[in-house]
């Protein structure tokens, strides 16, 4: 479990991270979401040991990593949002160089590099020059580089930025593979629907503070002003709409051709009561389910609606 406790980062009078608290369970993919300038990259750089925190703790298994940069470097794998590569260096040499920076013995490197390139699907590019790779391949290579010392925790800052849809899918597959390997991943992104699909938990940061944290469903349930319920009857549409309109928790009903949806402002028990009543009135139902909320809409509302998405 990684815990960030009351993390503060000030640049003179400006507070970039303001008492941030965060918990990332082991083996999870944690989506770190926030508008530009919210403090995501600053937090990630502190976690990677590239910035010094004004105050606060980054704890892993009870150990404050900020007080022990050497341990921090060994536990964390970091992939920045922007990075460059060296000219005149082949993929295998690039990996060998970073293996050397973690003092991995020469004899172990060949197998290690082969397995890492296999994970990110770059085995066929082993002898290619790094600067000749596509953007997506460079991103995957950088991910392989961040895994070279077998870190327990991965910090990925916007790993999908600038990638085409195909490269994004490939990156997503690699990340899913890493999750099955037991890695804990903290990932920041602006592409919310992708995060929602991939992450076990998300945290929304704004003005350096965590404004919401939990599973995607929890966050949507807690932050949605109203829930949208879809009902698909087998006939008797008019009766269904009439019944729904009579219910006090139903604020709005929209009738479609084959189904209808209604806005519901009540508890789980009250929703179950609605279903029970419809069945009790002998309306034949084919489907009754809660419509996926719009995460982007929630994000905009929570963070003040001033950010790019």
């Amino acid at each position: 479990m990684l815990t960030i406790h009351e993390l503060v980062k000030r640049y003179g009078g400006f507070t970039a991270v303001d008492g941030l608290n965060l918990e990332v369970p082991d083996g999870s993919i944690f989506g770190f979401v926030g508008p530009n300038g919210a403090g995501k990259t600053t937090t990630m750089k502190i976690m990677a040991g590239l910035l010094q925190a004004t105050s606060g703790e980054v704890l892993m298994d009870g150990e404050n990593l900020i007080a022990n940069p050497r341990l921090l470097h060994r536990k964390m794998g970091y992939m920045p949002d922007f990075f460059g590569v060296y000219d005149n260096l082949k993929v295998s040499e690039y990996m060998d160089f970073y293996a050397g920076t973690y003092h991995i013995p020469y004899r172990d490197r060949k197998d290690l590099i082969a397995s890492l390139l296999d994970i990110v699907d770059l085995s066929h590019k082993e002898d290619a020059y790094v600067d000749s790779l596509s953007r997506g391949m460079k991103q995957r290579l950088c991910l392989a580089r961040s895994l070279v010392h077998d870190p327990a925790f991965l910090i990925l800052d916007e790993p999908a930025s600038g990638l085409d849809p195909r490269a994004r899918v490939e990156m997503k597959e690699v990340l899913k593979g890493l999750k099955t390997m037991g890695k804990t991943i903290l990932i920041s992104s602006h592409i919310l629907p992708e995060l929602a699909e991939m992450c076990t938990e998300i945290g929304i940061i704004d003005h350096g503070k965590m404004v919401a944290q939990g599973s995607v469903q929890e966050i949507m349930r807690n932050l949605s002003q109203k829930r949208i319920i879809m009902v698909k009857p087998l006939g008797q549409m008019e009766k269904l709409v009439h019944l729904l309109e009579e219910m006090p928790q139903v604020t709005e009903v929209i009738e479609n051709t084959a189904d209808c949806e209604f806005a519901f402002d009540g508890s789980e028990e009250e929703l179950a009561e609605v279903l029970k009543r419809l069945i009790g009135q002998e309306i034949p139902l084919l489907a009754f389910y809660e419509k996926e909320g719009n995460l982007e809409e929630i994000f905009m509302r929570v963070t003040g609606g001033v950010q790019e998405l």
């Binding site: 010094q52 990075f83 000219d87 260096l89 050397g100 920076t101 010392h149």
Partner: protein
């Protein structure tokens, strides 16, 4: 295990065709200078009275050219080492690894100096001509090589420090050239003017003080260090007679006798100091109080520092 930074730089620079072209041009240039000097000596003697001892002038020209090449090329090779990583956006990737800042700085310095070492080694066969005519001993040549390498290390350390502190490579290089200019000319001008002022302020019967700060500045002068070593090796006077009449204090006389030795000691101190400063400059987080907190590398104004301290006090009070 070989420093990984040095290893990578060696791979990439050996693949770079420009390195070979530069080295070839350098060797051609020094061979041409040596050939020209020997030809001039033969012409002057008209083939009748050729004095092999005169080959020492070609040694002076050759070593002078080499020290100038080292002073000019080392900043160009070293001053972009860290700022180049920053410009290429690879520095953060290095700083998150297990390498210590000292390992990174040393790797960069060694990689840059490897080229200087190569330049020095490739010129060694040309010195064989001087050895053939009996002008010099092998120890003299080796002594000069040590002087070259220590000088290159000193200039390289200063260059790497500037590379850590200054964002732009070009500005780092210019700063180092400016510093070399100050060390060669600035120290000499300052010392001469200082001694002259000291003399003019003396009472009629007052003796010069034994210790004064002006002669001490000469220790930092690499050009004087070079000429001092040449004079020592060839047992001749190039500058020392003139300078001895200017730097008449006991300290000045002592420095003039063994300037190259004092300069080498000065270079070693410069290497230690600037490597230490570069290591501090490259470190994104610096420990000030063991296990408790760190100070920010970024320079704050007094007002900003006060704000940060105030904030830390507030949070600790909470």
């Amino acid at each position: 295990m070989m420093n990984p930074v040095l290893r990578r730089e060696a791979i990439t620079s050996l693949r770079n065709r420009r390195s070979f072209i530069n080295l070839t041009l350098y060797v051609i240039a020094i061979v041409a200078v040596m050939a020209l000097f020997i030809e001039m000596l033969l012409m002057n003697s008209r083939g009748l009275l050729f004095d092999p001892a005169d080959v020492k002038y070609s040694y002076i020209a050759l070593t002078g050219m080499q020290i100038a090449a080292i002073m000019l090329s080392t900043p160009a090779l070293c001053a972009g080492s860290i700022s180049g990583e920053r410009e290429r956006q690879t520095l953060d990737l290095l700083l998150v690894t297990d390498l210590t800042p000292l390992e990174i700085v040393m790797g960069k310095l060694m990689a840059s100096l490897a080229m200087v070492l190569l330049m020095t080694l490739t010129s060694l066969p040309i010195y064989a001509i001087c050895l053939y005519f009996g002008t010099l001993s092998v120890l003299d040549v080796l002594g000069m090589m040590v002087f070259f390498l220590v000088s290159a290390c000193a200039v390289g350390s200063v260059s790497i420090y500037f590379s850590c502190k200054i964002q732009k490579t070009v500005i780092s290089i210019l700063c180092v050239y400016l510093l070399i200019g100050l060390a060669c000319l600035g120290t000499l001008i300052w010392s001469v003017l200082g001694i002259a002022a000291l003399q003019s302020n003396l009472a009629p019967n007052q003796a010069m003080p034994a210790v004064e700060p002006f002669s001490l500045a000469l220790v930092a002068n690499p050009a004087l260090g070079f000429f001092s070593l040449i004079e020592h090796q060839l047992n001749m006077n190039i500058l020392s007679n003139t300078l001895s009449t200017i730097f008449i204090t006991a300290m000045g006389q002592k420095i003039m006798q063994h300037q190259y030795l004092f300069h080498l000691i000065f270079d070693v101190l410069v290497i230690v100091l600037f490597l230490f400063l570069a290591t501090r400059a490259i470190n994104p987080i610096r420990r000030t109080e063991k296990g408790k907190h760190f100070t920010e590398k970024k320079r704050f104004t007094k007002k900003e520092k006060k704000n940060v301290q105030q904030g830390q006090e507030d949070s600790s009070a909470q």
